[in-house]
């Protein structure tokens, strides 16, 4: 085997999951793009919008020290709030009823990787309950605000673990390329980037 090991380059993954064309289901990509626009990390952190990869998640969890997954979570969560789960929550009876639409992929992938001894050392899920998942709609106003909150949570989780994560002095607009044509000038976007 060669010595080239991208794991060493990116031991930490921040992953957004969700369908960006399904309204609030795209909370994960929205939140990680917001995080990317507001914070700057070192090369050890990889920030990825993975969409809805199902079992194809494996390469992005493989051998990582820390994985933070951001996703919409269909569960008994308080509306308009960001919640943080650890991996144990998914294996407990409580979390059996609290899985995301992508969870079959995430759960299967984690199980495969754990059996093969190459799962992530730590997995954290940041989630929020979606309000509206209508095809072709952009995220609701509440999601745009919560994305900024989730970005703060990601930064705090990284900082608490000693991972370099600095707030940008000038935050560019998040690259929300998927918004409906009529929404590209939505004032809420400005609000998010200025918060």
């Amino acid at each position: 085997m060669t010595e080239m090991n991208p794991i060493a380059t990116h031991p930490i993954s921040v992953i957004g999951l969700g369908n960006v064309f399904l309204g609030d289901d795209g909370f994960g990509p929205l939140a990680v793009e917001t995080f990317r626009s507001q914070f700057m990390c070192g090369p050890e952190v990889e920030v990825l919008d993975l969409g809805t990869p199902g079992l194809d998640l494996a390469p992005y969890l493989y051998g990582r020290e820390l994985v933070i997954v951001v996703d919409s979570v269909h569960a008994d969560l308080p509306l308009r709030a960001v919640s943080v789960f650890c991996e144990d929550d998914f294996t407990s009876s409580r979390a059996c009823l609290r899985i995301t639409g992508h969870d079959p992929g995430l759960w299967d992938t984690l199980t495969h990787l754990r059996i093969a001894d190459c799962g992530p050392s730590e997995l954290i899920v940041i989630g929020t309950a979606p309000e509206s998942c209508i095809f072709g709609d952009g995220p609701s106003d509440a999601m745009l605000r919560l994305a900024a909150e989730a970005a703060e949570s990601i930064a705090q989780l990284l900082s608490r673990r000693g991972v370099l994560c600095n707030r940008r002095h000038v935050a560019p607009h998040p690259n929300l390329w998927w918004l409906p044509l009529s929404s590209t000038e939505d004032p809420n976007l400005q609000q998010v980037s200025e918060e």
Partner: protein, 565 residues
């Protein structure tokens, strides 16, 4: 007579419902229903044609790259745009990396457990398993020590009762016939495959910048800058990195993946006779070798009625008979409209009615080639290549036949590939071909760069009038085509005819069923509560129904039901 509904079929990408009627233990009718709507075509209308590929990558959650490629090729076709050879080779390497990833995931992680009984592994003799594995392949990961370690893990899972994702397998089913040793060998490779699906993603990411959703495409080429004197661009270090990853990956494909499918075929020879289905095959040429896109490393063609001698080559993407032959029929799909319509004029307006087997019952349209259903995928790819005398296809197909024969002396020929097992074999044969072509295309790219060509992009110029184009790709699941109508640089219509649409096609206006539906006719079902045989054949197509949607489930539980009425 029993009616079995499997909803959803698990271990696929997306959501699929299969209904079969079973009489005397044999399937005599079948319906395939995709339970998700794909509406991305509507989102693409009004978008800039140069950015369509960014959106098109979201047609599917897992096959992102292939839709990006088909999208730029469609726009380039409309513009009659030449593509620099460097861009062709870079795209080809990305497509190969993606295909290898997809095929490895399909065989090991999506379908192997239809054949491999994990619960029998604790009973295996690891030393004997190592001996069997080492006699069938030169792979170094088959040692007794390695197999014992895997066996211990499985023993721990079984003893602890923590079956997790293995909880719902059809363990102990009479159609599961591998010995405990063979099950141990396959499961060892199942775990090892995790590393090699990662390596195939690295190939895509090194060139595409990111995967899924590569970032380097452009209408007119790719956005990879080439400068051998810069650390920040494509240089000899980057090319060397690619070669190293490929040299790690290729032995797994050729020595493990291909060997395993041959062992599987030798162990379940009856599946060389089940699941033939629609015996019309369609493959499109791919891996272009020049700027004019006139030469290809993978041949395309059409085979009708299972007659390999009848193959009609599709020489290139301009093939007029192909363009004129394709239609889509919505008679039994939840869309407005009915009879066949050419993709350029296609619509995607929903008309949902609930599942009505004699009327509309799926979100998948019925594509037709000169009015006939067609089977697409690696099997079509391999059969067209074999029938056309394509040397690389013949080399790896004959290698597979030799390996199968070496196990129990079973003689297999190209016509036997027209079956459930043939689809598994074809996927491994195609992967072996692609793995060999990967190094060749890397060498073509390197040579072209060393010859002083650093061009990767020809800028598109859009006329003000209406133009139309079609982009092809022989994707991991088969022939993919995107059809675009552009005016003033903006899409006015967009239709994607995707591989799973061909294979999961419902009945058309004449009541002719599609490949999934036809392939299940005649399949045995030993236990109606556990219709494993049906799943094996459906999984052999590698269904991918994701197409940009996924479902949020109200209860939060994955719902996998088998209903027998």
């Amino acid at each position: 007579m029993a009616r079995i509904s499997i909803d959803p079929v698990t271990r696929i990408e997306g959501h699929l419902r299969i209904d079969v009627e079973v009489d005397g233990g044999i399937v005599n009718k079948a319906w395939a229903s995709c339970t998700m709507w794909r509406g991305l075509e509507m989102i693409l209308r009004g978008r800039d044609a140069r950015e369509g590929w960014v959106f098109a990558q979201r047609f599917c959650g897992v096959c992102t790259t292939v839709h990006g490629i088909a999208s730029v090729r469609a726009v380039e076709d409309a513009l009659a745009l030449d593509i620099p050879p460097n861009a062709q080779f870079i795209r080809n390497l990305i497509l190969i990396g993606h295909a290898l990833h997809d095929h490895i995931v399909h065989f090991y992680h999506l379908s192997a457990l239809d054949w491999v009984d994990v619960m029998s592994i604790p009973k295996a003799d690891a030393a004997r398993a190592a001996s069997i594995a080492e006699s069938s392949s030169s792979w170094q990961g088959n040692s007794r020590r390695e197999l014992e370690a895997v066996q211990q893990k499985v023993k721990g899972i079984v003893a602890g009762g923590q079956l997790g994702i293995f909880n719902h397998g059809y363990w102990g089913h009479p159609a599961m016939r591998l010995s405990p040793e063979m099950n141990l060998i396959f499961f060892n490779h199942y775990l090892q495959a995790l590393e090699f699906q990662r390596k195939s993603c690295q190939v895509v990411a090194i060139l595409g910048g990111k995967t899924p959703h590569i970032q380097n495409l452009a209408v007119g080429g790719v956005m990879n800058a080439i400068n051998l004197n810069s650390l920040a661009t494509m240089n000899m270090d980057r090319l060397g990195m690619l070669k190293a990853v490929l040299e790690d990956l290729i032995p797994f494909v050729q020595q493990v993946f291909l060997a395993d499918t041959c062992l599987l075929a030798a162990s379940y020879p009856e599946y060389l006779h089940y699941g033939r289905g629609v015996a019309n095959y369609l493959a499109v040429p791919d891996l272009p070798l020049d700027a004019k896109t006139s030469k290809f490393d993978l041949p395309g063609g059409v085979i009708m009625n299972g007659n390999l001698a009848s193959v009609r080559p599709i020489a290139n993407w301009k093939d007029e008979p192909f363009r004129k032959a394709i239609t889509e029929d919505s008679t039994h799909a939840w869309y407005q409209g009915g009879g066949p319509i050419e993709p350029y004029r296609g619509e995607t307006m929903p008309d949902y009615t609930d599942f009505k087997e004699d009327a509309k019952y799926t979100w998948v349209k019925a594509p037709r080639y000169n009015g006939s259903p067609m089977q697409v995928g690696p099997l079509a790819n391999v059969l067209v290549g074999y029938a056309s005398g394509h040397a690389l296809t013949r080399k790896w197909t004959d290698t597979a036949f030799g390996r199968i024969s070496a196990v129990h002396g079973l003689k297999v020929g190209p016509n036997d590939l027209q079956s459930t097992m043939g689809r598994y074999l074809a996927r491994a044969i195609r992967s072996s071909m692609l793995s060999e072509l990967a190094l060749e295309h890397l060498q073509l790219l390197t040579t072209n760069i060393l010859n002083g060509d650093d061009t990767t992009f020809n800028a598109p110029q859009f006329p003000s009038g209406e133009i139309m184009g079609m982009g092809m790709h022989e994707a991991p699941r088969g022939a993919l085509s995107h059809w675009v109508v552009i005016e003033k640089g903006v899409f006015t219509n967009y239709q994607a005819v995707v591989p799973t649409t061909w294979n999961a096609s419902p009945r058309d206006q004449n009541g002719v069923p599609g490949p999934y539906e036809t392939s299940l006719i005649g399949s045995p079902v030993v236990d109606a509560e556990k219709p494993l045989e049906v799943l094996r054949t459906v999984h052999s197509f590698d269904p991918c129904m994701a197409c940009s949607c996924h479902t949020l489930d109200a209860s939060g539980k994955e719902v996998a039901q088998v209903k027998v009425q």
